[in-house]
């Protein structure tokens, strides 16, 4: 560490610390004011309470929204991870014309304005006669989750040593046996990581759910509805804090798993990890 510090231009490292503060500070205010006794979020705090948290489980609309979010999140993460596995495997293992273009198309939702993606899907779904429900939200979430799933999975699949699969086939394993006993254990952490990432994105996603849902609210939609009432703000802050911690936790686990997957597939076991 001292060796690094010697080369570190002072202003650059202080800038880095300031930048981290800028990134984190706004988010930190949510938990701080969620335990404040006053309803308006201002300094100095008037007192510490867990009152707003205690109220949460007593709100039926919130319980419904939580269930809806869980259903949507689990369905979307499984579907997008399955589609992500197919695509990532194809991209990392095969070479064919149009491969880059197809990859670009699949990754496109990442860089398109969400509102435009959402209203386009809304138009098609209404034209197809689909009634808006949690199912249409899942369809939308899968589209925006696939790029993230692909990113996590390609990093796990890349550098995958094909000779291991060949060895297994040479030693008499069936194609399915090879997949189950060689391929799957190698890529399992990447797959779980993708599931967690997609679940987190779906849990936090607002715009697409807002446009594509019928009457059922997911958690972000519930929060959006509550934001109109100033008196409900502390409750929203408490709920937001819980969501925040859920995202932190899920993403930390996902990142650890993704790294493990990347290390596992790298040839000599962690040489470049």
């Amino acid at each position: 560490m001292t060796a690094i510090r010697r080369y570190l231009p002072g202003w650059l490292s202080s800038y880095a610390v300031l930048y981290l503060l800028f990134l984190y500070l706004p988010v930190v205010f949510l938990p701080i004011f969620s335990v404040n006794t006053a309803a308006t979020p201002k300094f100095p705090l008037s007192g510490v309470t867990l009152h707003w948290y205690e109220d949460l489980p007593r709100t039926p609309a919130l319980i419904d929204a939580t269930w809806n979010s869980l259903i949507v999140g689990i369905s979307a993460s499984i579907l997008s991870t399955v589609l992500g596995i197919l695509a990532a495997r194809s991209i990392t293992r095969y070479r064919y014309p149009g491969r880059r273009a197809i990859n670009g198309l699949i990754m496109a939702p990442l860089v398109l304005p969400e509102v435009i993606v959402a209203i386009s899907m809304l138009l098609v779904m209404l034209q197809l006669g689909l009634s808006l429900s949690l199912f249409t939200v899942v369809l939308g979430h899968v589209l925006v989750c696939i790029p993230y799933s692909m990113t996590v999975l390609t990093s796990g699949f890349e550098g995958f040593d094909r000779s291991l699969e060949e060895a297994s086939a040479d030693l008499g394993e069936s194609a399915f046996g090879t997949f189950r006993r060689v391929t799957l254990p190698m890529v399992a952490p990447a797959i779980i990581s993708s599931l967690l990432v997609c679940f987190t994105i779906s849990l936090d996603e607002f715009i697409i759910a807002f446009f594509l849902t019928g009457t059922e609210a997911t958690l972000p939609i519930y929060i959006w509805g509550q934001l109109r009432f100033a008196a409900k703000l502390p409750g929203v802050l408490a709920l937001g804090t819980l969501l925040l911690f859920a995202s932190f936790l899920l993403m930390t686990i996902a990142e650890i798993l993704r790294r493990r997957a990347a290390r596992r597939t790298q040839n000599e076991g962690g040489l470049y990890a």
Binding site: K42, R93, P113, D204
Partner: protein, 305 residues
């Protein structure tokens, strides 16, 4: 996180000679990706085509008149309200993308050149806030900038101002601050990847040949990392032009953006074709602006050499 979709070339199928009946590699690869590809075709390409088609039609109360017309585009481009919203959206997205890139570059450079063993920890720390709900992050800026908010009460507590300022929230500056914060990570990652690729021996060579740190940075590192800077600018610019949540929550009357007008056409106003035309116009103009930005960056890159 990783930006790995275009990494090392895929390994060739060595096993095919053992199984002569196996179809060619291309067909296998294509078959494997086709479910995902078809999904994207049905839920992304088809919907966008439908939006484009709608933009040439007319709303007739509850039905849609399918006769071809450019009327919606005339309204989108000439009606002062939409013209103003488009300009404001473009101005905000351009400002936000330039700001995020300028703020992100030193961080990406710092992590790449001075991150040492802690590179991945730094990247992790920087990506984590990004994974929290976008809605919540925008909400926290509302809490900070509000009339009874953190900044006002803090400044009053310090005796810097006497009464809460209303200038902080509900204007385009609030939108720019919030978006710059929300998109920070998106800008850092591509820049980091390209700074990481800069051949360190070239930097050393520049130093050996007598360039000072600033000169070698301007003439070696910066031009070589330009692709990352360009893609970071685009990755921020294109989505932010259509942002809905931020202008709605912190923009107030003066911070309304085109996405809010688009939403209104699909909601209360119920004029789908006009909403579609506004979407298409916004996308085309932001693409042109993105193209222009790329050209400007390229020209600057050439100047630096």
């Amino acid at each position: 996180m990783t930006v790995a979709a275009e990494g090392s070339p895929p390994l060739r199928m060595a096993g095919s000679r053992r199984r002569p009946l196996l179809q060619s590699e291309a067909i296998q690869g294509f078959a494997l990706i086709s479910p995902t590809f078809v999904y994207a075709l049905i839920l992304l390409v088809l919907p966008i085509l439908v939006v484009i088609a709608h933009s040439f039609w007319t709303q007739n109360y509850l039905t849609i008149d399918h006769t071809f017309t450019l009327e919606n585009y005339r309204i989108a481009l000439t009606e002062p309200i939409y013209r103003d919203l488009l300009w404001r959206s473009l101005y905000i997205s351009l400002t936000v993308s330039l700001l995020t890139v300028a703020l992100a570059y030193p961080i990406a450079y710092f992590i790449s050149f001075h991150g040492g063993r802690h590179k991945s920890l730094w990247l992790f720390l920087i990506t984590i806030p990004f994974w929290t709900s976008y809605l919540l992050r925008v909400m926290s800026w509302k809490v900070i900038l509000g009339y009874n908010g953190v900044l006002n009460s803090g400044l009053m507590g310090l005796g810097i101002i006497d009464e809460p300022s209303t200038a902080l929230l509900y204007n385009s500056t609030a939108v720019i601050i919030t978006l710059t914060h929300a998109w920070a990570t998106f800008a850092i990652l591509p820049i980091f990847v390209s700074v990481e690729k800069v051949d360190r021996t070239l930097v050393e060579a520049a130093t050996d040949l007598g360039d000072g740190p600033l000169r070698s940075f301007l003439r070696v590192t910066l031009p070589l990392s330009a692709p990352g800077v360009i893609s970071a600018a685009l990755i921020v610019m294109i989505p932010t032009v259509g942002d809905y949540v931020t202008p709605k929550l912190v923009g107030g009357k003066d911070g309304v953006m085109i996405a809010n007008a688009i939403q209104a056409q699909f909601g209360k106003a119920s004029n789908w074709p006009l909403g579609a035309a506004l979407s298409v116009t916004a996308m085309i103009i932001v693409s042109l602006m993105a193209g222009g930005t790329v050209l400007v960056f390229r020209a600057l890159q050439r100047l630096a050499r």
